[in-house]
Symmetry: C2
Subunit: 397 residues, 2 copies
């Protein structure tokens, strides 16, 4: 028995439509995971994510949850699902990326990273072992190995040194993960709605991460070393971290389809709707990104016609929706003029509604991509989608 089931339903070129069965939900891919950094998707109540938006999986950030509320408290509740009441699948990252992007005064060595909390300056340590233990306590369906993420413009030697450390950490992550899973490990009980889920082993899945920045041979080396260790799924890390977009697309184009076919492929922390569709085209299945909610809080909407800045004065008397092609509850009910007013007036409901639309747009874009793959018309979908983003909106994408 396995922790998750992965099945490819159809392919169209390199693009894949698949299904991931987890203990808590069936995830149809390509899929976008809304980001619930601190145990909540910013501005969007779980009820909306479940009922209307039908998000099958969300992401939780180990770094943030480790610092606040901390593992002790989450343990008292019986894991992150019970703590938050989100009862569908969750993926937790390893905490590594946030340690490198949010904290100062890091001490990196072979063992792991010592750093100071961005909240209170207290000294903390993360390592492959600690990360596996925290993620076991969180009880996510999908656990990520602890990796080092070098800057997008890192030089060749620095990148090579980093990915070798990442490879050693990956092996240590897996070893500790296996110990934790077998040593009287029990996840908090899920409501098993899917009969198929009963054939799962009830444990967490562990995904490896491929690094190598923009250096294709290092990416291939990282891929080989990660596959050699062997994981339940594989992720591409270290993209969209400052490198040129053409570099990201080149890595995706060259690497994604070489990742194991018999496991889900996850592009971490990326990106715009355009990025997602291009990555699906390259063979990626899973995405997460904060931009739908982060941009939602600043009044920036993603639409089928490109980005819409709700602060634009031309919208003040506009009775139309954010996106006339969107079926979400925000677009069906609220006008651009009203949303602009709420944003200008500083009403948090503006952030709530625009974030809601943005997440709806990301989720529905992945659903439409999936349908197109299943119906062998993904190239046409991709072309129409991308030209829609560019052609109809003077503000660009």
């Amino acid at each position: 028995m396995k922790p998750i089931h992965w099945k490819i339903e159809a392919t169209d070129g390199k693009a894949r439509a698949g299904t991931i069965v987890t203990r808590r939900s069936v995830i149809e891919t390509p899929v976008f995971m809304p980001v619930g950094t601190q145990g909540a998707v910013k501005g969007i109540r779980f009820e909306w994510l479940e009922d209307e938006l039908d998000a099958r999986i969300i992401l939780g950030n180990t770094y943030h949850l480790f610092l606040r509320p901390g593992v002790d408290i989450i343990n008292r509740f019986g894991g992150l699902h019970k703590f938050t009441s989100w009862n569908r699948a969750m993926l937790t990252d390893s905490g590594g990326f946030q340690v490198f992007s949010l904290t100062d005064l890091r001490k990196l060595n072979e063992d792991g990273v010592e750093f100071r909390s961005h909240l209170d300056g207290s000294k903390k340590i993360l390592s492959p072992e600690v990360s596996m233990e925290i993620q076991a306590a969180l009880g996510s369906e999908i656990v990520m190995v602890f990796d080092e993420c070098p800057p997008g413009d890192a030089g060749y030697d620095a990148t090579k040194t980093s990915l070798e450390l990442t490879a050693r950490w990956a092996a240590r992550s897996k070893a500790r993960f296996n110990d934790v899973q077998s040593a009287s490990f029990s996840l908090s009980p899920a409501s098993e709605e899917q009969a198929e889920a009963c054939t799962l082993n009830g444990k967490q899945a562990l995904f490896g991460i491929i690094q190598g920045a923009g250096h294709l041979d290092l990416r291939r080396e990282s891929l080989d070393r990660t596959v050699e260790i062997g994981f339940d799924g594989y992720a591409i890390g270290g993209l969209s971290v400052g490198e040129e977009k053409v570099v990201m697309y080149e890595v995706l184009d060259q690497i994604a389809h070489q990742m194991p076919n018999d496991a889900p492929r996850y592009l971490m922390g990326v990106g715009t709707p355009e990025d997602l569709v291009e990555a699906v085209n390259a063979g990626v299945d899973i995405f997460d990104c904060v931009i739908p909610t982060r941009n939602g809080r600043t009044g920036s909407a993603f639409t089928s016609r490109g980005k819409v800045n709700i602060r634009n004065a031309k919208f003040s008397t506009d009775t139309g929706p954010l996106d006339p092609n969107c079926e979400c509850s925000v677009c069906k009910r609220y006008s651009l003029g009203y949303l602009r007013h709420l944003n200008n007036a500083g009403e948090m409901t503006a952030a709530t509604l625009i974030s809601h639309h943005n997440v709806a747009f990301f989720l529905s874009t992945m659903r439409k991509a999936r349908e197109a793959i299943l119906e062998s018309r993904f190239p046409a979908f991709r072309k129409d989608f991308l030209s829609g983003l560019h052609e109809n909106n003077a503000e660009g994408v």
Copy 2:
């Protein structure tokens, strides 16, 4: 034909259970109106207010909407209902209270008030006539006369001078209101769900406001002068504006039941759950207050056991709800520990969820008061409710 229908279903002592039929919704009293100052109830999507919370009427603030987005824009949308998409009843205040509480550099004279916008410092004028015109453009079901609101500790002579001005302004408000209603006035169309509503005249209702601070004889004089002018409903203004609570209760006790029996009675801007139940006991039907949402944003919850400060460390591992006696979707799903975490982590969802519960608590308290009146057991309800607030919670109410 009238703009609204008012019917008393039952009385219990001075307490009344009634029904207000408006063009857009049937309002069962006693009723609490969530405050939608700028065209949104802070933190709570209309969908929740309609479906779960079943708020029948909300309040809009003329002062805020006059300044932003302004009457021109709201006119372009065909009124506040169409602008916001809230299609149930709305009451708009006159703008007077905000002019006196939010702005500096006011010039008050017989005509009205000149003031500077708190948003951009621009010079604006509000008067009885202007307020009636703005409220007609907003298209609310219930319009309030333009009054002057003296401080709660105003001396006798200042209060008397003020209420005389308020009385003259009330007469001017009514005159201009009638002109505006008859001069080619058309409200934006409502979806007439209630057959009874079809017998209404389709115009706005106008409520008069009784002032007089804590001076009972001035309150009586203001009541007489307001009733003499004649309105569709009557409000008590100028309470909970800094005076001692015992003063407010004395005014309510002495004045509320002397207000016309054949019209709804509205206590403006008050108050805590305790205040509401005491005012119902004195014969008041309608309330509004910002505290459910304002306190919600700071992590302060109103519950059947008194106030709960979600920041209290003792809640960090508490798996129970905010209020075990509450049936709202927040209390049925989310734990104190989780809500505390969200609030500590600065997640806007904390404000959303606690505001939601607070509004649910205010609405359900009024529903329970109504049931108690209908079943002739209001004194027992009042006693139990108030002792619940005080006895079970060391933090007090």
